[in-house]
Amino acid sequence: MAPKQATRQAITLKGSTALVTEFFKYAVNTILFQREVYPSDDFHMVKKYGQVVLVTQDLALENYLEKILQQVQKWILTGSVTQLVLAILAKDTRTTLERWVFDIKLVEPPADSKEVTGKAEAEIQSEIRAILKQIVSMVTFLPVMQEDKVFNILAYTSDSADVPAGEWEDTDPLAIEASKSQQVKMRSFSTDVHRIEAMVAYRYEE
């Protein structure tokens, strides 16, 4: 019984990791589209999670995200990443305008380890859908960013994480000064293994 359950756990972790990584891909694409970091002509519509999601067609950007997400997936698998941040910066001044934060938590299996209560895929998808919709709706109140924008993806990892040499570097957190920022917590979703909580902080000066 025990080994069987262990195998099942392993598979779930892997599946959950893939799910979370995939969610990041669509969330990042949605943000890049909605916040007009890239021109809207570069995006095309894709059916995903039972809704239409806009995904970039720009090959360079696609590859860039792909490389990042591959590494993120490895980190999630080993549990060494706690947070992913998509920061949107002004191109000229390099000031951070928005920070889209995704906390990644490991869900501890309940202490009284009974049969793992599998969460239905449909349920997870509807949670993901809710987050993506929320990202879209954020546009209504987030300040309009007039300037040219670039983005940056930060991964908050543990010190022990394997870092591919030369590819990932320690960086500035690209934080926004407390006095000049506001933030909104968004929905979360969870798989059996992971729990993703989303939040956006944006520069807001009166």
Partner: protein, 534 residues
């Protein structure tokens, strides 16, 4: 004090890049390390009682897997009395399940504020080595690394600023107002297809590019009259023959032409104000009716009455049968009259002028002449001031007598449809560009309009919906100024400042009419090429 397990090189780098609040230096009294990837070094700090007290006093604690940086902030809250705080490190705090830091006095509605503080960690001051030393001394694991991919994200494939410029410049190019992208520049809806190429093109050298003139007329005998500067030409559609009607007196030009209802006579208005009457069949001038003091920009016939609109804003009725031709004058415009149209039954006549006014007059002319030179003066039945530009385009509906359509110039570009009985405005439709002429389709509930800059289009609109049935963009190289409908009601001829006449097949003749007309039309007309009218 503690030697971190990580290689020191990496440690220093990490610390140097992680800004900490200055508050760290002052209130560095309470830190808990509860990360899932807990490191042995951190737990090995001996916890003295004093430290414990300090920790409980400092209040701001950090707990939970989620904390981003184990740093305290400035908030100070008096030490809580509850005992829970004391058992902090070993036993999990109740609030641990939640993602927020544990602050006893925290109002849970302020969750957002807490995360906000976490976000703002880049202090401008604070020497990195000092914070590093301090952190090491307190055993704070700076075991969070913030990693970024070594490459910058690719720049957008198309420059957004350039795209913006292109957006701004777009109105100058293809995407003109209301345009639909087609290669031919023509749009037709699904139910109707109209040829987007003219059936025939005639060269018309010297055609005056003047909005206010009316230089094109198509008679019921299937002749097209066109005025080119001082000369008037008749193009017989049946034979393709071109006849020069005559030359205007030296020093002036033809400003308007119009065929009488039976097609036997041609009225020619001149720049000096004379109105000439010509016999089309014989090609001779019958008489000259003088009197107007300014250019006669428009003429309209009803039986024996030839009405002329003048540059001084007056409209005169000339009875061509009597020597004293001026039988009535109608004064209702302050600007040049450039649109004039009799209703078919002769009950009403509509005029439009450069003063943006549309007048509808009673067409009846009194029989009793007034002594002397005086003539009766008509009164406008309706005066409409809705247009905001010169009204040249006027059209009476052939199938519903009380409908009058009028179209305004550049600033207006609006088609208004009036009920001449009640004076009500029935429909309004704004088009992208200047309206130079209007015609109701003889056999269909449709309205045809010709337009100037920027579309230079011929538009066909459904009535009463005024939905676009078809549109031929760039029908001419310059603004389409004049148009006339063929007597059969299928062809439309347009003239423009690009010195050409183009014949368009817009409508079909109803089946009953087709037979009789098919033989009459189309023969004797050269199939291809540009025919010079001169």
């Amino acid at each position: 004090m503690q030697t971190p397990k990580t290689p020191s090189r990496r440690r220093v780098r990490s610390e140097a890049k992680t800004p900490l609040t200055p508050s760290l230096l002052t209130t560095f009294n309470a830190v808990s390390i509860d990360s899932p990837i807990k490191r042995a070094t951190s737990t090995s700090i001996p916890l003295s009682d004093a430290f414990q007290r300090q920790a409980s006093g400092g209040v701001i604690r950090k707990g939970g897997v989620e904390s981003r940086l184990d740093v305290v902030t400035l908030d100070y809250v008096p030490p809580p009395k509850s005992v829970e705080v004391k058992r902090s490190r070993s036993t999990p705090v109740i609030n641990l399940a939640e993602r927020d830091r544990f602050i006893t006095s925290r109002d849970h509605t302020l969750d957002v504020a807490a995360t906000l503080d976490q976000m703002s960690l880049n202090a401008p001051s604070g020497s990195p080595t000092h914070t590093a030393r301090l952190a090491a001394a307190a055993g704070v694991p700076l075991n969070r690394r913030i990693l970024g991919y070594h490459l910058q994200p690719p720049s957008a494939s198309s420059d957004t600023t350039l795209a913006l410029q292109r957006e701004f410049a777009r109105p100058l190019y293809a995407n003109r107002p209301g345009a639909v992208a087609t290669s031919t520049g023509a749009t037709t809806n699904k139910t109707r297809k109209i040829p987007t190429q003219p059936e025939r093109v005639l060269d018309a050298p010297g055609m005056v590019d003047d909005f206010y003139l009316n230089l094109l007329s198509w008679s019921s005998l299937n002749c097209v009259a066109v005025a080119l500067e001082s000369s008037t030409y008749i193009w017989k559609a049946d034979t393709g023959a071109v006849v020069q009607m005559g030359e205007a007196p030296a020093g002036t030009y033809v400003s308007s032409v119009n065929f009488s209802n039976d097609g036997a006579f041609l009225g020619i208005g001149l720049g000096t104000g004379e109105v000439e009457l010509w016999d089309v069949e014989r090609g001779v001038k019958l008489r000259t009716m003088a009197g107007h003091q300014a250019q006669v920009a428009v003429l309209s016939w009803w039986q024996h009455l030839l009405s002329s609109g003048c540059g001084d804003g007056s409209v005169w009725h000339h009875d061509v049968r009597v020597p004293r031709h001026k039988v009535m004058q109608m004064l209702g415009h302050n600007g040049e009259v450039c649109g004039l149209q009799w209703r078919k039954d002769g009950e009403l006549i509509a005029s439009g002028g450069n003063d943006n006014v549309v007048n509808i007059w009673d067409g009846r002319v009194g029989d009793t002449p007034i002594a002397g030179d005086a003539v009766p003066t008509g009164n406008a039945k309706w005066t409409k001031r809705n247009h905001t530009a010169a009204v040249k385009a006027l059209a009476w509906s052939p199938w519903q007598p009380n409908l009058l359509a009028s179209g305004g110039g550049t600033n207006d570009a609006t088609i208004n449809v009036w009920n001449s009985t009640t004076g009500a405005r029935l429909h309004t439709h704004t088009t992208p560009s200047q309206i130079t002429s209007l015609h109701f389709a003889p056999h269909r509930k449709e309205l045809l309009s010709t337009h100037g800059y920027p579309t230079n289009a011929i538009g066909v609109w459904s009535y009463p919906g005024l939905e676009r049935v078809a549109e031929i963009r760039d029908a001419h190289d310059s603004r389409v100024l004049f148009s006339a409908v063929s007597p059969a009601g299928d062809m439309v001829v347009t003239g423009a400042g690009d010195e050409s006449l183009k014949f368009w097949k817009i409508w079909d003749i109803p089946a009953a009419d087709k037979k009789s007309k098919a033989s009459g039309r189309g023969e004797g007309v050269t199939r291809s090429g540009v025919l010079s009218i001169r």
